[in-house]
């Protein structure tokens, strides 16, 4: 049995407290009037402000609608700055929920594939997916607040904008508040249902005399994977792609999937290494870590493959309606946009290619931290350009949001880990898993 160490518990509370404080400061610092917004940008006096001056001049030369445009530009700026703390909160909430969901998908795959090496890690995975319930609710609350017009994260939720936008009018049958929330509730409900039920069966299997629970778990895992594949794809259109409601991409669902899958596997590896270092997983050996590191390596490349496929197809054909997505990212987000490719591809590629390195714990941890940071940037550059535009920065609201959800993640994950023995007893593959050797 794992006991939630007091130090870790206190650390998670501190993270949450600091996070709440920072999030509060972020909301406080957001401007409420156009004048305040202008003052903030003027006070920055950096590249952003200059760029705006140039843009404003360009528009000013266009004398016919110069006045009106300036006013609407100021309004736009105000919305961007007001969105900053919201976006920071949303990116962090989604990022940690996505880790937990990625682990859930990995867990279901291990069950459906009847993998012989991983049953030893099932409890670790179940512990991490425990965050799905609070994390999913947090994301849902943010989405519900968006629908309630508390923020401007999703431009299609603004009735005035939709009324003047033929494209959004055309999509209103799909992109409308109530349907959006119903879909979100169905997705989250389905995932949580599988998580809780599978966990229950997994624990029941330990105490039973036959394999009925195991077999049922196998079947519901296979069914969940079908459900997950469909809902994950739709979820990524709803929660991420729809912040840019004029833009669309067919492989977007896969792309977000790869991101959450590799982050999830990385977190499994990190938590496993942590628990092993504390002596709680005596039967986990180098080969288990090696396998997880291989998955981190392989899925990182898979993510890059999808990232590049999406980017290159749009770059190559350069159709204006599609390419604006990348134009705005390359113009305003050059460093995070290309930096994440280095973090998510080059780093794991070079560090985890060697078979020996995959068995060295600190190597896996180091690469894992880089991968997680890279995938935070991935979600960041997916959301931010649409919500805050060129007003982005990684400052108090962003870091505090990450700290808050990190604290919440640590708290719920390790609390769940302490609730059941870390080693399944009667899993039919547990012996094979104990003797797994690569």
């Amino acid at each position: 049995m794992y006991t939630f160490s007091n130090r870790l518990k206190i650390a998670s509370f501190i993270l949450m407290a600091v996070g709440v404080l920072g999030i509060g400061i972020g909301f406080m610092a957001a401007p409420s009037t156009v004048e305040e917004a202008k003052a903030i940008v003027a006070a920055q006096g950096d590249g952003h402000g200059d760029a705006h001056a140039v843009v404003a001049e360009g528009h000013g030369a266009d004398a016919q609608h110069g006045e009106a445009h300036d006013a609407s530009h100021d309004e736009h700026l105000l919305h961007q700055l007001q969105n900053k703390p919201w976006s920071a909160l949303y990116v962090a909430a989604f990022f940690f929920m996505m880790i937990s969901l990625g682990v859930l998908a990995f867990y279901a795959i291990q069950r459906a594939a009847q993998a012989g090496w991983s049953p030893l890690l099932f409890r670790v995975m179940e512990g991490i997916t425990a965050y799905l319930v609070p994390g999913g609710i947090a994301v849902f609350i943010i989405l519900a607040l968006s629908v309630a017009h508390m923020n401007h994260l999703f431009v299609w939720m603004d009735a005035d904008v939709v009324a003047n936008d033929k494209l959004l009018l055309g999509k209103a049958g799909y992109l409308n508040g109530p349907f959006f929330l119903i879909r979100a509730a169905i997705f989250l409900g389905g995932w949580m249902l599988y998580r809780e039920y599978s966990r229950k069966l997994s624990l029941a299997q330990d105490e039973s005399n036959d394999d009925a629970n195991f077999k049922l778990n196998f079947r519901i895992s296979a069914a969940f994977l079908v459900f997950y594949l469909i809902t994950e794809s739709i979820m990524s259109w709803d929660w991420i792609m729809s912040v840019d409601p004029h833009w669309f991409s067919t492989l977007f669902g896969w792309y977000i999937f790869a991101s959450m899958f590799v982050s999830g596997i990385t977190v499994i590896a990190l938590v496993t290494i942590y628990l092993k270092s504390k002596g709680y997983l005596p039967d986990v050996n180098d080969s288990h870590i090696h396998d997880l590191a291989k998955f981190m390596f392989g899925i990182s490349i898979f993510w890059t493959y999808l990232w590049f496929s999406q980017f290159m197809l749009i770059w190559y054909s350069n159709i204006p309606e599609e390419v604006t997505y990348f134009v705005s990212r390359i113009a305003d987000y050059k460093l995070p946009f290309f930096g994440m490719v280095a973090l998510n591809f080059l780093f794991p590629l070079l560090l985890l290619m060697n078979s020996e390195f995959k068995r060295v714990n600190w190597f896996v941890v180091m690469t894992g931290v880089v991968i997680l940071f890279g995938h935070y940037l991935d979600i960041y550059t997916a959301i931010m350009p649409a919500t805050v535009g060129d007003q982005w920065s990684i400052g108090i609201p962003e870091i505090s949001s990450v700290l808050f959800f990190l604290g919440m993640f640590i708290f719920f994950v390790f609390r769940a880990l302490s609730k059941a023995p870390l080693q399944p007893k009667r899993n039919p593959f547990i012996e094979e898993s104990k003797h797994f050797h690569y």
């Binding site: 590049f308 980017f311 290159m312 770059w315 350069n318 290619m353 078979s355």
Partner: protein, 173 residues
């Protein structure tokens, strides 16, 4: 120099593994082991050095990537930077996404083919090569351990019989 070798036959890979461990423990040098299929862990039991084929493959991949970059930079950017469908051919970086598929494929091509050729060279495999198996049964259902004899014929024979060999032959090499 004509030397004598002892050939011990086994009909089970588990017995063979144990035999290899015993012979190693008795500090005899195993010249060669012939198997009809890969025996998991045999290389470790024999104490063979790990292969460096993967390292050569990585280096070949780097060569392939370099070839691709240099080739396309010369052809598309330096030699004749035509405007083809509006693609920016002012610098390599500007047009790079279009080159990535070729960079990838050439990397894989070099890594794979040169590694295979390295494997053939290092293991001395080529068409019309004379087969080297000392006994035809080693390609079907028998395992053969070959040990050189240094005036210790009887001792070796006893040791090998002890390890469960089904047949022991002594041949001139």
């Amino acid at each position: 120099m004509a030397s004598k070798v002892i050939h011990a036959f086994y009909d089970d890979d588990d017995v063979l593994m144990l035999a290899v461990k015993k012979v190693k423990a008795a500090k005899h040098h195993i010249e060669e082991v012939y198997c009809p299929f890969p025996v998991h862990g045999l290389d470790k039991a024999m104490g063979l050095a790990p292969t460096r084929l993967a390292i050569t493959s990585f280096l070949y991949g780097c060569v392939g990537l370099t070839v691709a970059v240099v080739m396309m930079n010369y052809i598309m950017i330096e030699d004749w930077p035509q405007d083809i469908g509006g693609k920016p051919s002012f610098s390599y970086l500007e047009n790079m996404p279009a080159f990535v598929p070729i960079m990838f494929e050439l990397t894989v091509f070099f890594a794979a083919h040169l590694m295979v050729i390295t494997f053939f060279l290092r293991s001395r495999l080529w068409p019309f090569k004379e087969a080297e198996n000392p006994d035809v049964r080693t390609t079907d259902d028998h395992f053969l351990m070959e040990i050189e004899i240094h005036n210790n014929e009887q001792e070796l024979k006893d040791l090998l019989m002890d390890t469960g060999a089904v047949e022991i032959n002594i041949t001139e090499k």
